[in-house]
């Protein structure tokens, strides 16, 4: 084998790419993992939830040594109005026991650790290296050209896990340019707070964590959500809105997150905190319709680069890990067959179809369309829920029959019965 030839090349050391490299290295392959950041994780941003099952399929009992922040044993949803919130939640001791369900993580730490595990397994990690082009022989991908001297690297299979701005997948003709309807821009702050404060404010014991998703006033009527996640000694606070809506709104994402932090109910949770980092990232929201062809001769695509995100359930890292693992397993089978053609690598798509990844994305294929059209789901209904709660909870000598009359007036003054029935029908049709 020449110096620049490997069994496989993986582009991007996020969860998808590192999972792929780890699985291949474990199988004894010579695999090179190319990463443009200063270190793995330097360019990688997410809200912060890592799901245990998908990671455990790659590495059993990983949480015992991985730099996870807190396990999530409480999930809340807030419907936010200007000075109030209707809150729903689920907290369970069953979520506070091994093997756990989900963890908060900070990507710079976690991705570095994970890439290091891939290195220990035998992968060759090359950071500070941008892959500029795929190399072709006819229509077959035979390697990549990295942005450094003698940058050509060859392998019978390349796994692309370059993230949402998948320039190489686009160059390979796998998808046209992403549209602003298909991505959300999220901005996030990591806010330092002492461990004890976090545990007191969120009613947590050591190691436990809360995830709050926020819909309503915080996105100023744009399609999107906000979140607050507890880390060990910090909070991850963010706001994400559909890029198409944001561009038309003339709002700045920085103002959105500042507005959200200043909300009276959120301000109390963050009080005294010190912002340590501000980050921005695109989230693939296009769902089923936006998924590109997942392979080509000598090429597989995984993770955000393949638009594998279930935004409804806030699942992305699990889809990245699972697709990265399945891409690696597909490559292993292809080697056994001695065939890295598109037809042979096509079993990757079938493996994803047999898994939750494409089954869930298919099930929710109409979700992004529904939300893009019914934008009042993000403004009118959260406001209504707060108005109704306020009216019904105030004890002011007004008889309940009068209160019910007021509530009906409040609701039907904004939407007709038909409109509400139509929304319910649309929801049922989309989620059934």
């Amino acid at each position: 084998m020449s110096e620049n030839a490997f069994d496989a090349i993986v582009v991007g050391a996020g969860p998808a790419g590192t999972a792929a490299a780890y699985v291949l290295a474990k199988a004894g392959w010579q695999v090179v993992l190319l990463e443009r950041g200063d270190y793995p994780g330097a360019k990688n941003v997410m809200g912060g939830i890592l799901y245990r099952q998908a990671m455990e399929e790659v590495m059993p009992s990983f949480w015992k040594e991985a730099p996870v922040e807190r396990y999530i044993n409480e999930q809340r949803i807030w419907l936010l109005a200007s000075d109030s919130a209707c809150s729903f939640g689920y907290k369970s001791d069953r979520l506070a026991r091994e093997p756990y369900n989900a963890f908060t993580i900070l990507r710079a730490k976690f991705d570095s650790w994970f890439a290091n595990k891939a290195e220990e397994a035998g992968a060759i990690l090359v950071p500070q290296t941008l892959v500029e082009d795929l190399l072709f022989e006819g229509d077959k991908v035979i390697g990549v050209r990295a942005g450094r001297e003698e940058g050509a690297v060859f392998a019978p299979v390349v796994i692309l896990a370059e993230g949402v701005n998948s320039l190489l997948a686009k160059k390979a003709g796998l998808h046209p340019e992403i549209s602003p309807h298909q991505v959300a821009l999220a901005v996030k702050e990591t806010i330092f707070l002492p461990q004890e404060k976090i545990e007191d404010r969120f009613n947590l014991e050591e190691g436990e964590g809360t995830a709050i998703e926020i819909i309503g006033e915080n996105t100023k009527g744009l399609v999107g959500t906000g979140f607050i996640y507890t880390n060990r000694e910090s909070l991850s606070v963010g706001a994400g809105v559909l890029l198409h809506d944001l561009v038309r709104s003339k709002l700045s994402p920085h103002d959105l997150i500042e507005g959200m932090k200043a909300h009276p109910l959120i301000r109390r949770l963050l009080a005294g905190g010190e912002t340590q980092e501000y980050a921005a990232h695109l989230i693939p929201e296009g769902g089923w319709a936006a998924i590109p062809p997942l392979c080509k001769n000598g090429l597989l695509v995984a993770g955000d680069a393949a638009m594998l995100v279930n935004s409804l359930h806030r699942e992305g890292s699990n889809m990245a890990l699972t697709s990265g693992r399945l891409a690696a397993e597909t490559a292993l089978q292809a080697k056994e067959k001695g065939d890295f053609s598109e037809a042979s690598l096509g079993s990757y798509r079938r493996a994803l179809e047999a898994s939750f990844v494409l089954q869930d994305l298919r099930k929710y294929r109409n979700v992004s369309d529904l939300f893009a059209r019914q934008t009042h789901f993000f403004s009118l209904y959260p406001q209504m829920a707060n108005d109704v709660a306020q009216e019904m909870l105030i004890v002011d000598g007004v008889p309940k029959s009068e209160k019910v009359r007021r509530v009906r007036q409040m609701v039907f003054g904004k939407l007709s019965k038909w409109e509400i029935l139509k929304d319910l029908y649309l929801l049922w049709r989309t989620f059934k």
Partner: protein, 89 residues
């Protein structure tokens, strides 16, 4: 907290050359110049008939690449090892 103060917290290793190149004639014809608002790092400013691009503050999210209605931006990643480095991410 101001955006400038937040950007100040971040670690950047700016390249000598920009990785963001708008076609300036498209920018002149763009009435609303939304990139001057939606860029989360305030990279784009319209000053005296010119689009000033502070590429050294770029968070590399890609919003401008997709959000520019003229699709007029030549958007690349900074060279390997350059640009922003998140410590938390």
């Amino acid at each position: 907290m101001k955006l400038e103060d937040k950007l100040y917290l971040l670690k950047f290793k700016p390249d000598e050359k920009t990785h963001l190149q708008p076609k300036i004639e498209d920018c002149a014809n763009c009435e609303e110049k939304p990139c001057t608002l939606f860029c989360p790092a305030g990279v784009y400013k319209w000053e005296e008939g010119k689009l000033v691009v502070s590429f050294e503050n770029c968070l590399e999210c890609g919003s401008c690449r997709i959000g520019c209605k003229f699709a007029s931006l030549e958007w690349r990643y900074p060279r390997g090892g350059y640009g922003v480095s998140f410590r938390h991410g």
